[in-house]
Every structure is written in C-alpha cells, then in structure tokens.
C-alpha cells in the first residue's frame, strides 16, 4: 500500500555510473527515497517487479533493451508507477514512442531539477 505522506520510492535506471550515482544523490537530497538502481532495461524490469517503486527514472538509450522497451514491459505490471524517461535526445519521435510505451513524462538530460523532482512526484 502506498502512502501519500511518505517520500516517494524511486528506482533509478541509467547505464552511466556517474549519472546513476549523482542522480540518486540529488533525488535523495530532494527528500525522495532511492530504493534501487539499475544499469540496464532488463534489470529495471526485474527490480520494478520486486521493489514496486512509486516512480522509475529511466534512461532511454541503454545496452540490451532500452528504456522505452523497459517501460513497455513494466507498464502492464504496474499501472500506477510513474515512468519518467530521461533522455539525452530531444527528439519528438522518441517522446511519442515513450508515451506509447506508457511513460508518464519525458525529460531531456540537463532539465531543471525541479522539473525532474516534480515528474518523479517528490513535491
């Protein structure tokens, strides 16, 4: 059961270790609870099933299945999870694909932190 008064539980997925680490730190600094990190889409799908996070920050381009395919697999198993796509590509076509896959929001890397926190559901 998810409680609205507790910090959102977030799974961070990015193949770049530096981004993964600092993204986890900055989201934790914003009062969110980081429940797990993953470096590829397959691991993200598995962790989403076991951890049942409130939100998942997904990189789009990753080894193996990318973020969009991961979103496509996660969405049917958890209709309520917020899937935040975080991509290096500012590409409308990619954004449409992400939306079709069930993404809740699509942000470009380098976006304002407040937008990311808002998308994840921190405040």
């Amino acid at each position: 059961m998810r409680l609205s008064d507790r910090p959102a539980r977030v799974l961070v997925v990015d193949d770049d270790e530096a981004v993964r680490t600092v993204l986890s730190h900055v989201l934790a600094d914003e009062g969110l609870e980081i429940v797990g990190v993953a470096c590829d889409g397959d691991t993200a799908v598995a962790l989403a099933e076991t951890l049942r996070p409130d939100a998942i920050v997904l990189d789009v381009r990753m080894p193996g299945i990318g973020g969009i395919e991961a979103a496509r697999r996660i969405r049917p198993t958890d209709p309520d999870v917020r899937l935040v796509m975080l991509s290096a590509y500012d590409d409308p076509t990619l954004q449409q694909e992400a939306n079709a896959a069930g993404a809740s929001s699509f942000l470009v890397k380098g976006c304002a932190l407040v937008d990311l926190v808002q998308a994840v559901g921190g405040r």
Binding site: A18, H25, K109, G110
Partner: protein, 189 residues
Amino acid sequence: MISRIHRVGTDADSPSMVMAAPRRSRLATMLLPLLAAGGPAAGAVATTAGFHQYTAVGCATAIAVLLAAVGYIYRRGRRELAVVLAQLEHASTVESAEAARSSVAAGLHDGPIQRLTATAFTLDLLSNALGRGDLAAANDLAFRIRDQLGTEMTSLRQLMNELRTPVPAILPPNTAWRPQPAEVGYAPV
C-alpha cells in the same frame, strides 16, 4: 536459329522465302572474312554430324549472327555491370559516412552528454548544499565539478584529435580496406 534458316532455304513456296533470301545474301556478303575462315569448318562439322542439307554459307551465317548476339549481350552486360558497380560504390560511400556519423553521435551520447548531465546534477547538489549553509559539502562538490569538467575537456580534446586524424593513420596496417598511400596521396604517419 539454324533450323529456321534451313526451313526457309528449302521451302520455296513459302512467302517468307522471298523476303528471307536477299537478307541472307547481304549478311553473307558483309561477313565474307568470317565466312572464309569459319564457313568451311562449320560446313565440315555439319557434314560430319550428318546435316548434309546445310550449306557452309548457311552455317557460317548462323555462327556470325550468333557471335554478333553474344557480342551485343557482352557489351550490354558490361554497361550494366558498370552501372551496378557505380551504384555499389556510391552505396558504400554513403554507408561509410552514415556509420561515421552514427559513431560520432554515439560517442557524444555516451561521453560528453552523460558527463555534463552528471555535472549539472552535481551543480544542483552544490546549490542545495549552499542553501543549507553546508559550506564543507559545497566546497567538496565544487572540487568534484572542477574534476568532472577537467575530465570532460580531456575527453573532448581526444575526440577532436581522432576526428582530425586522417582515417588511414589511425587504422592498423593490415586492415583490409585501408587505402594505400598512393590512393590517398600522402604517406601514412
């Protein structure tokens, strides 16, 4: 083809005989050198094989027509082959350019964009630390950002050098498609 000539030559009542005979004569006249060389031989072969009704001139004419057809097909084939080779060369050039562009795009995604993303988030952390008045953490984060930018500049410099270096110089000598110095007009490093 030979059997058609035979039919025309023996069926005197056929209307086509009237039209075909002069054409055959013209061909024979035009191909006299060939007839001189190949006619007797072809006639001998035909006679040996039991086709006594064939004349040497008829056989030689047939051979000449056959050779002309082969020549036409050969020339046409060469032209078509040249076109296909040109198309393949163009496709190969386009493919190489696309591969290079994709490689640079992937390199930018996996390198500078990721590290700048990390740096941007670290700046957010620095901002939060300053907001809390945590100067020690802010100082640590400022040094980390400085390191990240230095690493990134080194990486970009390396990428620039690779892009500026001619392809043959950065490929191993035994690479199959490595252009030879004579082809590219300069000596490799």
